[in-house]
């Protein structure tokens, strides 16, 4: 008989759903519709087989990470499950290189001490000590890059970024977490147009997602808009221009929100500039990363412009 393993305890499941199995034993699992629709009972399988029915209606990026709906999951075999916010594992990593991409942005490359599964655009937590960590998005692509790459912006009085800027050097060993997050490129629908909008180091995940999509053979347009206050805020411009010349379906547009915008730059809020040039996003996939105010406004505006809620992937930080 199938067992559900949760929080180190094992529960006989019978023909019950994972939700009924756990709640009947007094384990509090949030739920609402109990019909596989509202997604309140979202859980993640740590090990074991997830029946396809339990992932019906989930975003592909969630399904690929073994998320499922507990109310419609009737496991055939033993399954270990966790709530989405359950802690992710840590591991050590060696610093391969530390590069100043700009005076206030570090590009850090890391070699994890063991097998590290991730998707370009997901994030990891970097620990300064037990209680101090920050999340950074991955700009690297597993099949293209040997090391993990993150971009760190120096935050005024930042506990972690300040420490990294002052101390970090090649050869150091630091603690990181496994990768998490659902803002990444899921293969499929290769002719779909993709809009990517980011501010600041929101470029890191978008750069990873763009390269991941291109190397996967994506044929639809990939329109990247990067926003900054002024022309001095942009970085990796050369790499992006090079990608543009290699792939005709990729376009890069820097956008300045304050002051004058030179030739080739868009002007204004980055998501407004993107929508001015692409007012109809029906059928598009959308990625939004960076400043939470921009991300939240852009989520609504791109949805109003026709993108389906299921096709909008966001990472505010």
């Amino acid at each position: 008989m199938a067992k559900v393993i949760y929080g180190g305890q094992s529960y006989e499941c019978g023909s019950d759903s994972v939700l009924d199995c756990l709640t009947a034993r007094g384990v509090p699992i949030p739920s609402s519709c109990r019909s596989g629709v509202c997604q309140t009972c979202l859980m993640r399988a740590v090990s074991g087989e997830v029946p396809a029915q339990a992932q019906a209606g989930l975003k592909p990026t969630l399904a690929m990470q073994n998320y499922f709906l507990a109310c419609s999951c009737h496991p055939q075999g033993d399954i270990e499950v966790a709530l989405p916010e359950a802690g992710i594992n840590r591991l050590a990593a060696e610093v391969v290189s530390v590069e100043r991409l700009k005076p206030d942005i570090l590009g850090i490359k890391l070699n994890p001490s063991r097998k590290f599964e991730y998707r370009a655009g997901q994030f990891l937590n970097l620990y300064r000590d037990e209680s101090t960590s920050r999340s950074y998005s991955l700009a690297s692509v597993p099949v293209m890059d040997e090391s993990l790459a993150i971009h760190v912006r120096r935050v005024p009085n930042g506990l972690v970024s300040g420490w990294l800027f002052e101390n970090l050097k090649a050869g150091d060993r630091i603690e990181i977490s496994e990768a998490a997050g659902d803002c990444f490129y899921a293969p499929g629908n290769p002719d779909q147009d993709i809009m990517l909008i980011g501010t600041g180091t929101g470029l890191a995940p978008l750069y990873g997602i763009v390269r991941d999509a291109l190397q996967s053979g994506h044929r639809g347009r990939l329109c990247l808009y990067h926003g900054s206050y002024d022309v001095y805020g942009f970085y990796m411009v050369e790499e992006l221009r090079k990608l543009e010349s290699l792939y005709p379906n990729f376009s890069y547009r820097p956008c300045v929100s304050e002051g004058d915008a030179p030739e080739g730059y868009a002007k204004g809020m980055v998501h407004e500039a993107a929508l001015a040039e692409h007012p109809d996003l029906s059928g598009w996939r959308v990625f939004l990363c960076g400043n939470p105010l921009m991300v939240n406004a852009a989520k609504k505006q791109t949805f109003f412009a026709g993108a389906s809620m299921r096709e909008i992937f966001a990472d505010p930080f």
Binding site: D20, S32, C33, S35, V37, C38, G57, K300, F303, F304
Partner: protein, 147 residues
């Protein structure tokens, strides 16, 4: 353990109606006729856009996670379309109590009803099916408004 749901007006209870069909059979046939899950998927974006653009009611959705909200809208539409669900009147009360405290009233419920109708019209659903879906949605009014 779920016996209380069987007493609920929205559950697929087996009250036998005049024509001999159970309410459950009638609702499932509505769900099939409207187009099942594909219809709900098509409707949820249209419906949620209308709700968010409507200044009469969008303040109730400010600061809410849009992904989670869209999933809840989908569950609500599934129910209104006669689809499978396990919502009870008590669930509806609990889920909207914080909005009632912020002033949610009949006029707001009317606005949502309007959007359900307009969404289904936009999807070319026949008027008699729209009326059935509207009746199911309407049956939640008292609980949603905490009356």
């Amino acid at each position: 353990m779920h016996s209380e749901y069987m007493l609920s007006m929205y559950s697929d209870s087996t009250t036998v109606c005049l024509d001999g069909k159970t309410t459950k059979e009638i609702k499932l046939s509505l769900y099939t006729d409207i187009g099942g899950e594909a219809a709900v998927n098509a409707a949820v974006d249209i419906f949620y856009r209308k709700v968010l653009k409507d200044d009469r009611i969008n303040r109730f959705f400010e600061g809410v996670d849009m992904d989670k909200q869209a999933a809840k809208q989908k569950a609500f539409l599934t129910m209104a379309f006669g689809g499978p669900h396990n919502y009870t009147g008590e669930d509806m009360r609990r889920g909207h109590a914080h909005l009632v405290a912020q002033g949610l009233n009949d006029s707001h419920f009317d606005a949502v009803m309007e959007h359900i109708g307009a969404t289904l019209t936009e999807l070319n659903v026949p008027a008699n099916l729209i009326a059935q879906a509207a009746a199911i949605a309407e049956s939640t009014r008292k609980d949603v408004l905490g009356k």
